[in-house]
């Protein structure tokens, strides 16, 4: 009992210690309000999942009932590294980032109910613009470099409950708040203006904190020997950005859309599984508060196949292939939707199994993706790593 309490405290500490947002993953972030980060762990990534309908005990804020299958206190976190390249205006821009997009925790209480907690990235708002220009200042003009950088993003912290209603039907709910902050800063450096001494960069900017409630409810219906079907509804609530620390800029409130996810897994054989799902959300009214940005009627679809019939390094393992496609939630007002398509794959290893219970599981997922719009095209390669550990 004491060990469980200690473990629970440790898991909670880990939950709050690790950031849910990180560096940038798309050049499109600068053109829209941010790039979505809601894809879950490495297994979901590898299977092209939209975050719902997977068996095998995932901890996902978008599939709140799924955690009921976990019978032991567990924690899972995911790390991602992205390498990307965008062809913008005839030029090529490379970027890379590491981030922790999600951390999840589940704590079953006497097989009656499972308490869940998650800290998940929602929008990544890290991006930068640099432009050299000549100003008519001083004799013969002055070369300056303007930089505008956005640093931060939106995350969500949620706590929830999951309960098995019947042997085949589970329900779950979670609720929480948006968190995070963004700093937006403009800097102009004077590259050729002759002055005595040092001419410091001109800098101005602001900082905003994010807040607002968010909740998801969902259920899972199991069909023994056939598969499972899951659905969830997310109430996006209001995402409030409040200026802090002497920021002159105004705050903004976005009406986040309702999000609908449906997904399922079909058991093709004892070791072969097929997963598919769709994700719907209409960001049309959300973007009304954003200057120059329109919202997309987002329709995402994804799926993949998982084979668990082999061992790797003496451990039972899984191979996965998947594909996902859909719009990004925002687009520049004058442009077409930004469509992201991803081919994915991955490997899962049960690191520690004791008496049939998987106590440690590690997954690796890789994605080759592109984002296309009338503005430009962006390609990326993303490597995800997840680790889930359970405590007996």
């Amino acid at each position: 009992m004491r060990r469980s309490a200690t473990a629970g405290a440790g898991l909670l500490a880990l939950l709050f210690a690790v950031p849910g947002e990180g560096a940038a993953q798309s050049l499109f972030s600068g053109y829209i309000f941010g790039s979505p980060m809601e894809i879950g762990d490495a297994r979901q990534v590898a299977l092209g999942s939209v975050g719902i309908g997977l068996g095998g005990t995932p901890i996902s804020p978008y599939d709140p009932a799924a955690g009921v299958d976990l019978l032991l206190p567990s924690v899972a976190f995911t790390g991602q590294s992205t390498w990307g390249s965008a062809q913008e205006g005839g030029g090529n821009t490379d970027f890379s980032a590491s981030r922790f997009p999600s951390i999840g925790l589940i704590y079953p209480i006497q097989n009656v109910v499972s308490v869940t907690a998650s800290f998940t990235g929602v929008l990544d708002q890290n991006w930068e613009v640099a432009e050299e220009r000549t100003l008519s200042v001083g004799e013969g003009g002055t070369q300056v470099t303007d930089r505008f950088a956005s640093d931060g993003g939106v995350s969500s912290l949620r706590f929830g409950l999951a309960r098995r209603i019947t042997p085949n039907l589970s329900v779950g709910i979670n609720a929480g708040t948006y968190l995070g902050e963004v700093t937006r800063r403009f800097a102009r450096s004077f590259d050729s203006l002759p002055v005595e001494g040092e001419l410091p960069d001109f800098q101005v900017g602001g900082n905003w904190d994010y807040g607002g409630a968010v909740a998801t409810a969902g259920s899972v219906l199991a069909f023994p020997g056939v598969g499972r079907l899951a659905g969830s509804v997310t109430w996006g609530g209001e995402l409030r950005a409040s200026p802090t620390g002497g920021t002159d800029g105004a705050g903004v409130t976005l009406d986040m859309p309702w999000e609908y996810r449906v997904g399922g897994t079909a058991i093709l054989s004892q070791a072969l599984f097929l997963n598919a799902g769709v994700h719907l959300a209409d960001y049309g009214s959300t973007a009304e508060a954003l200057d120059g940005i329109a919202g997309a009627s987002m329709f995402r679809v994804g799926g993949g196949i998982e084979w668990t019939g082999f061992s790797f390094l003496g451990k039972s393992s899984a191979l996965r292939l998947g594909y996902r496609r859909g719009e990004m939630p925002f687009r520049p007002e004058t442009e077409t939707d930004i469509v992201e398509s991803v081919i994915s794959g991955g490997l899962g290893i049960n690191l520690l199994e004791v008496q049939g219970a998987v106590l440690a599981e590690s997954d690796v997922g890789v994605e080759w993706g592109s984002r296309d719009s009338s503005l430009f095209t962006e390609d990326f390669f993303r490597l995800s790593f997840s680790l889930r550990m359970s405590i007996r």
């Binding site: 990307g84 970027f95 991006w127 100003l135 505008f148 403009f186 005595e196 040092e198 001109f202 101005v204």
Partner: protein, 435 residues
């Protein structure tokens, strides 16, 4: 087996931290920059940012200087004389006797001697060899305060020379200094003359070094009295002992009174010039500003990118006081204006090394501009969140070392063609919004 999860956790953490270098996506599309900043350079004339210019003198004294100026009608103007009082003669010396043993001898016979003056060959201005003279005079003088007209000039005591220029005096010797041959001039003294400086009964007379050759200017680095002595121990030997200067200074004429509203830095005693600013917080011009931003334009620290007060050098008049070497200038805020000229000053705007002013800028290259960067100083004056009475609005221009030289730097004052001006680089920007 039990270690596997721990190893995996460590591996995952390492993966997350070092997997890839962070490189934020950087767009080159300037249209993404959601603000349209306008940068403009504005030059304000003195009348638009300044109110008064005052020059204060009396900082330090010529006796603080290492070198004494000796000049005669230099550039048709400057007469300057070095004054020195030597210590009493040494009463004993260490001498080798006939056996080669070193012994103290307190029975010395003073024979004759000489005064040697070492000249700064770089800073002196002569046209070939010059003749200099060594004089003696009886009047007592106060080194820190004496001047051409006054031998003592303190708060409690003011006494004039009998005649200006430490006169009357008696010429003791003359000597020739040829800058192409040596860096010293020697004034020989016979035994009778030498005895004058060894008078221990009355008040010891002082020596005065004059320039005899008209138009010459020298700076004397040292003055020593060397005495040839015959010891009692070994009377076949002549040794040399020295009487060192007990105090020394120089006096000069004319005294260059500063121009009203002019800017002067340096000299000995040194001058400082205080610029009192009356900084506007709203600009309605010039046209170059209003063409780019909406006027009236409110100055704020955020909008102020750079500020420099530009002072313009003028030819120093009389020319005899033109710098002959680089002057180091300093600029500091006046912390308590009510206590001028003795107000404490704030930290330098020009750093520990000050600003080097080339001597030609005050002669053939008059009109050279010297910017003094005062961005923070000006920012505090236009900051709406700061009570303007709580921050200094006076700026003191001074020599980094006071005094540094008898010469001084002059700059255009209020109303002159080279009057101070304020260079501002301003950037106006819309508020940065979240979108």
């Amino acid at each position: 087996m039990k270690r596997t999860p721990v190893v995996a956790l460590i591996a995952a953490t390492v993966f997350g931290v070092v997997a890839c270098e962070e490189t934020s996506p950087t767009s080159l599309d300037g249209d993404l920059i959601p603000v349209g900043p306008a940068t403009v350079e504005v030059i304000l004339p003195w009348s638009e940012f300044g109110s008064t210019i005052e020059t204060f003198g009396g900082f330090g004294s010529p006796d603080d200087l290492i070198a004494q100026v000796v000049a005669e009608d230099y550039r048709g103007t400057l007469d300057s004389r070095a004054l020195v009082q030597f210590t009493t003669f040494p009463r004993a010396a260490t001498v080798q006797d006939s056996t080669g043993e070193t012994r103290a001898d307190s029975s010395l016979t003073y024979l004759d001697g000489y005064v040697v003056a070492r000249i700064d060959t770089v800073r002196s201005r002569t046209d070939g060899a010059v003749e200099m003279a060594l004089n003696t005079f009886e009047q007592q003088w106060h080194a820190p305060s004496t001047s051409w007209d006054l031998r003592v000039d303190t708060v409690l005591d003011e006494q004039a020379w009998e005649e200006p220029g430490a006169e009357p005096s008696t010429r003791l010797a003359t000597g020739t200094w040829n800058p192409e041959v040596s860096d010293s001039v020697i004034f020989p003294l016979d035994s009778a003359t030498l005895a004058i400086f060894n008078d221990t009964i009355g008040s010891r007379p002082s020596a005065r070094v004059d320039m005899v050759t008209p138009g010459a200017f020298t700076e004397v680095l040292s003055l020593d009295l060397r005495i040839n002595v015959r010891p009692s121990i070994n009377q076949d030997t002549i040794i040399v002992v020295s009487a060192l200067p007990e105090r020394r200074t120089f006096i000069y004429s004319p005294f260059p009174e500063p121009e009203e509203d002019g800017i002067r830095v340096g000299g000995a005693p040194a001058w400082r010039t205080v610029l009192t600013l009356d900084m506007p917080t709203v600009l309605n011009g010039p046209d170059t500003l209003c063409a780019l931003v909406t006027c009236p334009f409110t100055l704020t620290p955020r909008r102020l990118n750079y500020a420099a007060i530009i002072i313009t050098s003028e030819e120093t008049v009389p020319g005899a006081f033109q710098p002959t070497d680089t002057l180091l200038a300093d600029a500091r805020p006046v912390l308590v204006a009510e206590r001028l000229p003795k107000s404490p000053l704030g930290p330098s705007f020009l750093g520990l090394a000050g600003r080097a002013l080339a001597p030609d800028a005050f002669g053939p290259n008059a009109g050279t501009e010297f910017p003094i960067v005062v961005t923070d100083f000006i920012s505090s004056l236009v900051d709406p969140d700061i009570d303007v009475d709580s921050v200094p609005s006076e700026l003191s221009l001074l020599s980094l070392l006071e005094p540094f030289s008898v010469s001084y730097a002059t700059f255009g004052g209020a109303g002159s063609p080279g009057e101070p001006k304020l260079r501002l680089i301003l950037t106006a920007i819309d508020t940065v919004e979240i979108r």
